[in-house]
């Protein structure tokens, strides 16, 4: 039996399968699941000694995120026997991570999470080969993602999840309208927030995807501007005022110096100004800790919730890789605020899901509606929830950018279009609009229908 944390490197040369790294009995525990028939196995399961070889040597897993969930996932997968593990994380280690991201020590602060996590696992678990990438998921394209058998996400952002979801959708191959199962890469997605968490299994093109169940995600806390600007009531409103309005105006640390949540000098400044704002309105409760929490959008995290969700996810990876059991179908909710509570259900696919249904999306607007109206719809509609959509269309045979926010010069140039009506812009009934956004790697096509 492998006792993860307590095992030092002990390579005994007897090898199972001729591998000098594997001491006698090292994979006993896993073998029992792979080589013995049983009453609850997957209908397609066939006990075999080759499954172990596949697990150890061939199966390629991609872990996204090397934070709270990521550390747990890497540990669990490596201990289960997976050896070809790749991990992507764009962050470096912060001292506040150390109380649950246990692959990191104080000497590692400042280094990329992916690198340190890979080092730790590779050194502690002989034979394991974790390959790190200190990058964003958007830095890779289809050819990269296609190489993996299973992808597991331990992300803290819905946008990133949706992007990943979209990427796997784009890998699907349909022949005569029939999905080719070999183009499916299962996505196991885990999420946690305090004492709550969830784990889900997504088979792209077959089961409910991230976008199918967008409303399951709790609404992000965004305070309305009028509250922030003129009618604060809570200490959080005061802090947001300083962050969003006062900092850009006063530029306290210089021109073009953005507010850095990890810089104690910055936080101190925000804290002081927030207190001043709060006392103007007789609001109490502004603390340094709250200031930092609001600026960094910190959601308090608990080590054990991450452990639970990562364990559930790793179990699913094992089940899918080995076909040893029927995978979770398909959503697990966990909550241990009061006792211990789990709830498992089958999330349903949305018929007209923007990501996975292949149903063309419609936009119904009057010709007198403005481009601004369309923009608002794209961002506010519950099933779309885009962040900063860029809209292009073919008008009079030429491809024109109607509005794009993410490049300052183009934003300035196209801003006047927002007030123009669709008719004025030259758009016609039935025409296609192409929309790009951070929430999806592929451009989304919409069909414009004029209402009277």
């Amino acid at each position: 039996v492998v006792d993860g944390m307590t095992f030092s490197v002990m390579a005994v040369d007897s090898g199972h399968g001729g591998n000098a790294r594997d001491w006698d009995g090292r994979w006993n525990h896993v073998q029992k699941f792979l080589e013995r028939p049983g009453p609850f196995t997957h209908p397609d399961f066939e006990p075999s000694t080759e499954s172990l070889h596949f697990l150890l040597e061939t199966c390629k897993i991609l872990v996204i995120g090397a934070g709270g969930l990521g550390c747990e996932l890497l540990k669990n997968l490596a201990l289960t026997g997976f050896r070809q593990i790749h991990v992507i994380d764009m962050d470096t280690i912060d001292v506040s991570n150390l109380n649950r991201q246990f692959l990191f020590r104080s000497k590692d602060v400042g280094r990329p999470k992916a690198d340190v996590a890979a080092d730790f696992i590779n050194r502690r678990i002989p034979g394991c080969n974790v390959v790190p990438y200190f990058k964003k998921i958007q830095d890779f394209d289809e050819s990269f993602y296609r190489q993996f058998h299973i992808i597991v996400c331990g992300l803290d952002s819905i946008i990133a999840r949706r992007w990943m979801n979209g990427m796997l959708m784009s890998l699907l191959i349909y022949e005569d309208g029939v999905l080719d199962p070999s183009s499916i890469i299962p996505l196991i997605d885990g999420g946690t927030e305090g004492f709550k968490g969830n784990a889900r299994v997504i088979l792209p093109g077959m089961t409910a995807c991230i976008d199918c169940t967008l409303e399951l995600y709790p609404p992000q806390i965004n305070f309305p501007m009028c509250t922030i600007a003129s009618m604060p009531r809570l200490p959080e409103h005061c802090i947001e005022y300083v962050r969003v309005l006062q900092w850009p105006k006063e530029k306290p640390f210089g021109e073009d110096v953005p507010l850095d949540g990890d810089n104690p000098e910055h936080i101190k400044w925000v804290f002081q100004k927030s207190q001043e704002r709060a006392s103007e309105f007789n609001i109490t409760g502004v603390t340094y800790r709250l200031t930092q929490g609001v600026v960094k959008r910190i959601i308090p995290a608990v080590a054990s919730t991450n452990a639970v969700i990562a364990a559930a996810c790793a179990t699913e990876v094992f089940k899918i890789a080995s076909s040893a059991y029927v995978p979770l179908n398909n959503y697990l909710v966990f909550n241990d605020v009061d006792g211990l509570y789990t709830y498992t259900f089958e999330a349903e696919r949305k018929e007209n899901c923007t990501a996975c249904s292949q149903v063309p999306q419609d936009l119904k607007f009057a010709p007198s509606a403005t481009l601004q109206d369309i923009l608002e719809y794209l961002t506010e509609n519950a099933s779309l929830q885009m962040k900063s959509p860029a809209i292009t269309a073919t008008i009079d045979g030429k491809n024109r950018t109607l509005y794009l926010q993410t490049v300052a010069s183009i934003e300035e140039r196209t801003r006047p279009n927002l007030c123009k009506t669709l008719k004025e812009l030259g758009l016609t009934d039935g025409q296609e609009l192409a929309v790009a956004d951070v929430t999806t790697p592929q451009t989304m096509l919409f069909k414009l229908h004029f209402t009277s």
Partner: protein, 486 residues
Amino acid sequence: IDAQLWGDHGQEALENAHVCLINATATGTEILKNLVLPGIGAFTIVDGHKVTGEDNRAQAATELLQELNSDVSGNFVEESPDKLLDNDPEFFHRFSLVIGVQLIESTCLRLAGVLWNAGVPFLVCKTYGLVGYMRLAVKEHTVVESHPDNALEDLRLDQPFAELKNHIQSYDLDNMDKKDHSHTPWIIVVAKYLEKWYNEHNYQLPKNYKEKEAFRQLIREGILKNENGVAEDEENFEEAIKNVNTALNPTKIPSTVQDILNAEGWKNITAQTPAFWVMARAVKEFVENEGEGKLPVRGTIPDMIADSEKFINLQNVYREKAMQDASVVSKHVESLLQSVGKVCVYKSKKKCKNAAFLRVVRCRSLADECSVELVNKDEITSCMDNPDSEMVLYLMLRSVDRFFQQHSRYPGVYNYQVEEDIGKLKLCVNSLLQEYGLNVNVKDDYIHEFCRYGANAIKMITHQFVPFNNTFIYNAMSQTSATFQL
């Protein structure tokens, strides 16, 4: 930042805790990891096993766990728990919690007996194949701040206290300018329209759906209209309408708190009475006197559309009342302590604000669970009406323990044993059911499955100490779980 979740009190309690882990297995060390990371005060590992090679498992685990948090003090004892129970059972009295992982039944029951009598909480954990099991045995665990997620607000609209009444009266909705009207907190709006309703309905709260709907309509009619008679956009009124359902719930003491206030065992306060029960008694005296049948006011209100001044003023009305009530409870605490010759040392104010969130968890002892006379037959048989209920996993775990007792090993460790062991394990299952008089059917599939596991532990869920009551079973095959009281 995590202290935001359990507060400074929680963090202090955590830092004063000394946890004992018996058996540094994968599961055991995983549990400790999740306690060491947030900052438990100290841990001690008791383990007589050796890691292949030279190192003792307890020592190796302690050193590695220490790395995770230098503020935690780690110790180890290279001894089996049975030996300790033989030679020095009082060893275990010093711990705030003992966690026993992968213990065999006899050791487990011995230890449980010692800990029960010493009042030390005992958490038993087992992982077997794809099944996880946790059993909490604590005579009484009190929770002061239970942080429930969706607790209803304590607004007192049905029985406004004097200061709230005065504050409501200071508003005259019919004679306000538009800006003020649209930025009046919904609590005030509901209160004002409630007064109107009382006048027409004999001072009775809207009770059923029909009446609440009529009340909502009354509020809706209060929305200002422009010169064309079209309703203005008044978000505060929309909030009022939306909140009618819950805002008019009669103020009452939750039954869980009632039970605590009426608990028999603590009617008489002595010098030895734990702080929680002194507090409970003080709250009870408040309820019976100054509170006029109600708990101390909680003092918080949800955020709502309003201008800053109106919101802050309203918030302060609730806050000040809460502080007042808390002071009164404090005085009760002081006089109770004085009456038994003690001085009040701790801060009781914060605890009073959460009077509605007091909880007590009492678990049955393992001895009772396993006794033929006291076994919870009803719980077991009713769960087994569904033969695939997680309860079957509990019965299998008990049967496997029985198997170990008889054969000094677990079923199906080696491939050649699997077939034969299925039969042997089935005998154990039947003898267990017979001994306890359980008329249930355990499907053969489960017996087969448990032989398949061969005592293996693929590491499963792990936890910090959570007062579930009292048995938790996790089934990783189906990713489902259940809690039973056994």
